[in-house]
């Protein structure tokens, strides 16, 4: 049992409110990623879970127990920091043992725990070195080793990969995922990197300005973003958000999008609840289309006819940029199918289209 409940938690520094009634609840073995840009309050929230920041309002419960007034050492947590925060004068072994020494664990048990953790992380040969003699990836492993030996109810990771170079970051990401699968411990992980969130999480909380925008499993966040902010933040290249007018056609919706120097484009067959259909018919909406939901039209009349402005081959596919509804739109197409300055007919996967209210920017279902 190691659940985490964050119940209407607030944090304020004087008049400045950095967290506004945040509520998140995850179960045993969940991997929660707090995702957001810097300054969104995600690290503050993590520090509050750890007990390194005070809680202004609300409650945090770990395994059902309220921890608001407990000091970090009594919360049964372990934390991995962005800078690793290894004790510079201690060897790797002493670093890993430090917490156990403080809790007066018998030397024999300490040795056993160090051995298990270092075998798991493949750092056994580094045990007698000082942190300054280790590479970034090795330091990262030691920091995780220090967390693992505590056998905590909750692991907290504060942007653990952002100090590593790109290649190592991908490797360590896999490593963390494997570790989670192996240990099954509940994890809270803070990052601003949406790919880390997508690949690691079982639950993602997208945050902005101290408010959780959406809390869901990663695929759901990607497919059905709660609002325009989430839609733009998750996914690379970002989801295209195009202004349009909605028309009701029977039980489905059609969006009408202005195209420069051409007749307006009509994308139909978008399913919507009758209630939403009635409310938004004839009004402005924002249409969210992922770059990969465009394709080159091969048969029949294309949904859209556009002029490609810039074409960027990335290897596995090609990104084609064009104007639609007065904004720049990116399509992810198979290689060699798009040519800059050429006209092209595109089809759109309407089942993947997401509509947003043009004023509140929240999703319309």
């Amino acid at each position: 049992m190691s659940t985490l409940e964050i119940d209407r938690v607030r944090k304020a520094y004087g008049q400045l409110e950095v967290l506004k009634e945040v509520s998140i609840s995850i179960g045993t073995g969940d991997f929660l990623v707090l995702l957001g840009p810097s300054g969104c309050g995600k690290s503050t929230l993590l520090n509050m879970i750890a007990g390194l920041e005070t809680i202004t309002g609300g409650e945090i419960r770990i395994a059902g127990k309220t921890v608001n007034d407990l000091s970090p050492k009594d919360r049964d947590i372990a934390m991995v920091f962005q800078s690793y925060a290894l004790y510079p004068t201690m060897t790797v072994r002493q670093n890993i043992e430090f917490g156990m020494k403080i809790r007066r664990i018998a030397p024999a048990d300490r040795d056993k725990a160090v051995k298990t953790a270092s075998d798991l992380l493949q750092i056994t040969h580094l045990l007698d070195r000082k942190p300054s003699q280790l590479s970034g990836g090795q330091r990262q492993r030691v920091a995780m080793g220090r967390a693992i030996v505590r056998e905590p109810k909750l692991f907290l990771f504060d942007e653990p990969l952002s100090n590593l170079d790109a290649k190592l970051r991908v490797d360590m990401r896999t490593e963390i995922k494997r570790l989670h699968a192996r240990l099954g411990t509940t994890i809270v992980y803070v990052t601003h990197d949406q790919i880390e969130a997508m690949t690691l999480a079982t639950r993602v909380a997208v945050m902005k300005d101290g408010v959780v925008q959406q809390l869901d499993e990663p695929q759901a966040v990607y497919d059905r973003p709660a609002n325009v902010y989430v839609a733009r933040f998750v996914g690379s290249p970002a989801m295209n958000i195009v202004p349009a007018v909605l028309e009701a056609e029977g039980t489905t919706a059609t969006v009408v999008i202005d195209v420069a120097r051409r007749p307006a484009a009509r994308i139909g067959g978008i399913s919507l609840s009758p209630e939403a259909l009635r409310r938004h018919a004839g009004r402005k909406v924002l249409v969210g289309i992922r770059p990969e939901n465009f394709s080159i039209a091969t048969e029949g009349t294309p949904t859209l006819t556009v002029d490609f402005d810039v074409v960027e081959p990335t290897g596995p596919d090609t990104l084609a940029v064009f104007q639609l509804g007065g904004v720049e739109v990116t399509a992810r197409l198979p290689p060699r199918q798009a040519h800059a300055g050429k006209e092209a007919g595109l089809a759109v996967d309407t089942s993947k289209i997401v509509l947003f209210d043009s004023e509140t920017e929240t999703r319309i279902d």
Partner: protein, 291 residues
């Protein structure tokens, strides 16, 4: 080819000029020391015979012996020995106290910040600019009230409290460069205030501890004003005793004994610099480069 040669020739000439200048300056600075050393090794007659800079004809350690254990200070003819011991008894606890308190102050001011911490630090900084003379009378009154007037413990208290401003500044500036995450990690590991200080912070602070000790040792050992103001007679530190040897003489002025006494008084600070000097430079520049 010729180009490279002429350039390296120019470089060599430049070097020559630089080293030449350094050599001359070093000579000028070492001159007084040379005079002190040779004078202290000469018999008094030879000095009065007019040889001041030249090597002694016959080396004698009599002056050193006299300065150490025979010279008269006031009415007591004990040499510098007891006052040297006084200075040691004063400097060791005073350095330890001021460095220790400075370290804890710096630790609190950086890792356990409280509302108004910067203001407190500002006040402490202000203490660095207080001239010695300004605190003489209030300090004398305080020592009197504490019953420490005229004693070595009193002098220790004066030096320790006067030094805290400087040591706090040293440690605070050093600890500011240690990442806060280090303290946080130790807190999550279950360590408390003193455990973090002792096991995590202090072991990383050797360079700044050395800097603080050298600084404090030099200041306190060389101090004359506090020593002469707050002690008297047999509890005086060596600087005061040295002054008395040199200024209170009957008959011919014993230059050789004076020189030997001055050197005895200077030896401990020299030793500290030679032994720990490389840490001093390293500590002063620490934090500039991430290790």
């Amino acid at each position: 080819m010729t180009d490279v040669l002429s350039r390296s020739g120019k470089v060599r000439l430049g070097r020559l000029v630089v080293y030449g200048c350094l050599f001359v300056v070093a000579l000028v600075y070492l001159m007084p020391l040379w005079v002190m050393v040779v004078t202290s090794l000469k018999p008094l007659d030879e000095i009065y015979g007019g040889s001041f800079i030249g090597l002694p004809k016959a080396i004698t350690l009599d002056a050193w012996r006299a300065a150490w254990s025979e010279a008269c200070i006031g009415t007591e003819c004990t040499g510098l020995k007891p006052y040297f011991v006084n200075s040691l008894l004063m400097v060791i606890p005073a350095v330890a106290l001021s460095t220790g308190i400075g370290a804890i102050n710096g630790y609190i001011l950086t890792k356990w910040k409280f509302p108004g911490a910067n203001f407190v630090f500002g006040l402490l900084l202000f203490g660095c600019f207080l001239p010695y003379q300004a605190i003489l009378i209030p300090m004398a009154r305080t020592l009197g009230l504490l019953g420490l007037a005229g004693s070595i413990p009193g002098l220790v208290a004066v030096h320790a409290s006067y030094g805290i401003c400087f040591t706090t500044l040293f440690f605070r500036n050093y600890f500011v460069s240690l990442p806060d995450e280090l303290t946080k990690a130790a807190m999550v590991d279950g360590a408390g205030f003193f455990r973090i200080f002792w096991s995590v912070i202090l072991p990383t602070s050797i360079p700044i501890i050395v800097v603080s000790c050298i600084w404090q040792f030099t200041q306190i050992w060389n101090d004359f004003l506090f020593g002469v103001s707050f002690t008297s007679g047999s509890s005086s530190p060596i600087t005061v005793a040295l002054n008395n040897i040199v200024n209170v003489t009957t008959g011919r002025k014993q230059y050789n004994v004076d020189m030997a006494a001055a050197m005895i008084a200077a030896i401990p600070t020299l030793v500290v610099y030679i032994v720990a000097g490389r840490y001093f430079v390293r500590g002063l520049t620490a934090g500039a480069v991430k290790g």
